[in-house]
Symmetry: C2
Subunit: 287 residues, 2 copies
């Protein structure tokens, strides 16, 4: 399915980016622009035209959740290596939606309290309410990515988590939330140039962490952990999408499209009035 | 103080809107545009120029909270009669800030669990973290507004709350959060025409509630409750501002200005690097 407002795609983007049986991360070209044949300038224009649509869909979703008491929501899960552009997605894609309709949860290193609980405890608490687009900036998947690479938990525990995640997401989807899972995929070279830019600009120094260079050494281990994660948790009800992200403009356009599709799939229409409109006009006029 | 980027004001807006000793709500002209002599078209342009500034200030605030571990945050408290434009402020003013830097909390009728606790319990839990602009869409002030008008609590309890609020806000301010309290003030006639518009547009029906007309009957009681609230809770550390809101464009410009001022008062600069920039460039280049 292609969202109806999205005439600029030359293929079914979701299909092209979805992680299906036989997917191999190493085969993905991080500079590619699957389904899109125009350039950066057009990409920015097309992003702008989708921005209004996304905002309106979310407002309709919210309106319906108030009146029809539906439980529909959308959850965007963002995973990526450092500097791949999660922040840019939130700012430039999610930023087009009314702040009242968005809830961003950034998951950092777990606190001692969080570590006292199962790894899904802190995630459950940040699920979006009905009518809302929730964004996870990192997520429960950290627990099978850095958790695996840095051996933060025993191997059996990591193994257990894949199944626990699938059961958890099954329940979330069944409760009415569309789960859109995205890995932004950049090359090590692209990361190097982005980190270098952070070092060159004093207003970007705060985004740089010397630990980022250490993590780069573990790039192959991370890619292996992602590959396993895809194989174990890309399900029919909550599939993964790998979005080539060396070109930021493409990644934004693609993620916007995935969100638009999720919202079209819910098909939120403006809810009908639950009162007699003409009678209310009279009451109001007399007040 | 006038925020340095804000050359379009002809007076000290915060001063003009602040609730000081001797303030009388009934004397406020809801169609006025204190401190601004240009029209709606210019107002929209000036709002746009402030939008970028607000976004940058918030990013600097966030950056500093990560590196310098400061506790600075901003909390915008919005109170108003129905249809006065709280939603428009959030969408058009707060919406210019990166969603990662914003946390909106909408306080509705308390849940049974919330009623089991003191009225400030649910509010405390939604205070913004450092680096963030928090927005309260309604707030603890409902408990001395509708709480007083509809007699939802005994008179002594309402009395107690004013003092409790002041102590609470004193603590919030002392912990590093600038509290910007705004009442958007419209006339009953303006409300009538806005509610009528909601009835006339099917895509706005969901925003209409027949109870809104009943509340209109209580307008004088609400204004009296606001007047008392101002007298009891407009403090030096967390003053109230009454923003004439019959002209939406003015209200947005004024609230944007109050936020810019709060951020300039914190003066968040980009934090200095906590590492050796040149050494990191070399490490990164070699990685």
């Amino acid at each position: 399915m292609i969202a109806s407002s999205q005439k600029h795609w030359t293929g079914d983007v979701a299909d092209l980016l979805r992680v299906d049986e036989g997917f191999v991360l190493a085969d993905v070209d991080t500079r590619a622009t699957p389904g899109y044949e125009k350039d950066k300038v057009h990409g920015a224009e097309d992003l702008k035209s989708g921005a209004h649509q996304l905002d309106e869909y979310q407002e309709r979703l919210y309106a319906r959740s108030r009146v029809d008491a539906t439980d529909a929501a959308v959850l965007l899960v963002l995973q990526a290596m450092d500097s791949a552009g999660k922040g840019g997605i939130i700012r430039h894609v999610v930023g087009s939606v009314d702040p009242q309709g968005v809830a961003v949860a950034a998951f950092k290193k777990p606190t001692p309290e969080e570590l006292e609980h199962d790894f899904l405890w802190r995630v459950e608490r940040r699920l979006p309410e009905s009518g809302i687009i929730g964004v996870f900036d990192r997520s429960h998947y950290e627990d099978v990515l850095i958790g695996r690479v840095r051996r933060l938990a025993p191997a059996e525990e990591i193994e257990r988590r894949y199944g626990a995640i699938n059961e958890f997401e099954r329940r979330v989807v069944d409760s009415g939330t569309r789960v859109v899972k995205v890995m932004l995929h950049i090359s090590p070279d692209e990361q190097k140039s982005r980190l270098m830019e952070r070092l060159e600009r004093p207003d970007k120094h705060w985004k740089y962490n010397p630990g980022d260079v250490d993590e780069r050494e573990l790039w192959p281990s991370y890619m292996a952990a992602y590959q396993t994660m895809f194989e174990r948790t890309s399900t029919e009800y909550a599939p993964w999408h790998v979005v080539p992200a060396d070109r930021k403009w493409y990644a934004r356009l693609a993620v916007q499209h995935l969100l638009l599709e999720a919202l079209e799939d819910i098909d939120p229409h403006w809810p009908a009035a639950t009162f007699d409109v003409e009678a209310e006009k009279k009451r109001l006029a007399a007040s």
